[in-house]
Amino acid sequence: MKTIQKKVCMLGSFAVGKTSMVKRFVEGRFDDRYLSTIGVKISRRKVAVAEDSLSLIVWDLAGGDEFLRTNTSYLRGAAGCLIVCDLTRPQTVRSIDQYAEQMLSANPAAKIIIVGNKADLVDEIQVSKEDLQAVSQSLSSCPVYLTSAKSGINVSDAFKSLAENIINGSLEN
């Protein structure tokens, strides 16, 4: 078994739960407080994929909105990304395309996973899995996950799926 290290990025509008997802994935914790990220915070966690062990270097970036784009220098050398939106805020779905485009122009072979987060807020959900699947259609039907950083549901599955896609992608080449 060999360990490969791969850089992946957390992209998406502000306050969708990028930092919370990383915290859940890496530390197994959740915090209700919102502390906006500026710049980048890096964490690392190993994921087992088939024979290999993949070490994901996760870049948690600041979320923007319609007016703010991610600093491209942060995207250099990334093998993939989770593009996160907030299921209770339809506005956050609209920017998924933009983030994907930015990622792919920096790294054409990058793997993308779309994540609808805050699935625990059942009464406030305004975005369905079908809505996200419609977005994923134009992104070579990349996988879609509905997660909750709060309850932990599906969070590691989303990261694991990204890791698998990266490994399978590098086997193809």
Partner: protein, 398 residues
């Protein structure tokens, strides 16, 4: 100030914010500046020479190929701004800027700037901006929902008004007919009918039946409206008494029988021998039964049969099933049937009146009695709605 003094002063100043290191082509750290550990918030005794750059700064993992290009081009450098490091001593975030540029003899120069002062300021500003935008978005969403609700309400009230009007018109019409039949000043064309007093009496009775049915239906609609208002405002209050559900079901079926007869339907009650004592609000349980039997009557074509069956001793409670052999429903329709304002497309297209209120109220009222509702149905074969209520405490002894 002499040249040396100036250099020392500048150096002292810079060393509060800048540290540096020499890195070999294979990315192993060769030497570090005196303040390196201070800027990295690490223990003074920690030694970094011999450590791989990518182990100290995971930020460089994945960029190895790019760094190799930089090393061969003196005009290029690799910059990463605002990397976050946690300072365990004050629980604050330290923001560092990293810059890697080529140095002579194949080495790199790593420059680290502690930018925390500005970083923390920017963090506060971004935090405020994001919280403001979040509040803005939440307001916009709430506003949209309110407008939707408002629209739904006015739509609903126009439908309800429509529903109230049709039984009223029927009552009015039949009341006029009775008036003509029993009064002297009948118009000529009706005088002919007044030959036989017995036949007149029979007719009056029939007309009164229609009026009774329509009146109880009107009552049902009005009770639904009142209940909806209570449920909406969270003020649903039950006036509970202990009663035998058997008697109660019998009485309600009797009230509904003329309506079934008008639609040429058979309405049968199957009541067990043993008593079934439950704590209920009689008016509300009447509502439940009238809505369920009323639906069975509305959605079963002429000649059909409706069975109202009380089944005792189920999970320390009693179950009432209303089974018809009417039009039935599909799986997807069944999933939605208890939702507020839901009507099947068939029902909407037909001339059967309704607002999609009844079953929502049934479910809410049953649940308010700590019971539950259930439905089974097959398209074209019929439907079986049922509700279960717990026995009045203490548990029923047989």
């Amino acid at each position: 100030m002499s040249g040396q003094n100036l250099r020392d002063a500048v150096h002292k100043r810079l060393s509060q914010n800048f540290a540096y290191a020499r890195i070999a082509a294979d990315l192993v750290i060769q030497e570090t500046s005196d303040n390196f550990n201070l800027i990295l918030q690490s223990k003074p005794e920690k030694i970094y020479t011999g450590v791989l750059l990518t182990e100290l700064f995971w930020e460089f993992i994945g960029a190895e190929n790019y760094l190799e290009k930089i090393r061969q081009d003196p005009f290029r450098s690799y910059k990463i701004e605002r990397i976050n490091r946690h300072n365990p001593r004050n629980d604050k975030t330290v923001y560092l800027n990293l810059q890697l540029s080529p140095l002579e003899e194949d080495d790199f120069l790593l420059l680290i700037e502690d930018d925390s002062e500005f970083g923390q300021l920017e963090q506060t500003l971004v935090q405020e901006r994001n919280e403001l935008r979040l509040a803005q978005q939440q307001l916009a969403t709430a506003n949209f929902r309110l407008r939707q609700l408002d629209h739904l309400k006015s739509l609903f009230f126009s439908m309800a008004a429509h529903d109230l009007r049709s039984p009223l018109m029927v009552i009015h019409g039949y009341a006029d007919l009775i008036h003509y039949l029993v009064n002297e000043d009948l118009p000529n064309e009706l005088l002919l009918n007044k030959i036989d007093a017995n036949s007149t009496l029979a007719e009056v009775n029939d007309y009164l039946d229609v009026i009774r049915v329509q009146t109880s239906w009107l009552e049902n609609i009005i009770h639904n409206l009142i209940d909806l208002n209570c449920i909406d405002g969270d003020k649903l209050h039950l006036d509970v008494v202990e009663r035998d559900l058997n008697d109660f079901v019998n009485e309600t079926v009797d009230i509904m029988r003329p309506m079934a007869k008008l639609n040429t339907l058979t309405l049968v009650a199957n009541i067990p021998e043993t008593t079934n004592i439950v704590s209920i609000d009689p008016q509300r349980v009447g509502q439940i039964l009238q809505n369920l039997i009323g639906n069975a009557i509305k959605y079963t074509p002429e000649g059909g049969e409706i069975h109202v069956t009380v089944r005792p001793d189920i999970e320390n409670g009693v179950d009432v099933a209303i089974i018809d052999n009417g039009r039935g429903m599909t799986e997807t329709q069944l999933e939605n049937v208890f939702q507020l304002y839901y009507r099947t497309d068939d029902a909407r297209r037909s001339d059967i009146r309704g607002s999609g209120l009844g079953l929502f109220i049934v479910r809410t009222l049953v649940e308010a009695h700590k019971g539950r509702v259930d439905v089974k149905s097959a398209l074209g074969e019929g439907s079986a709605f049922s509700f279960w209520l717990p026995y009045a405490a203490p548990a029923k002894d047989t």
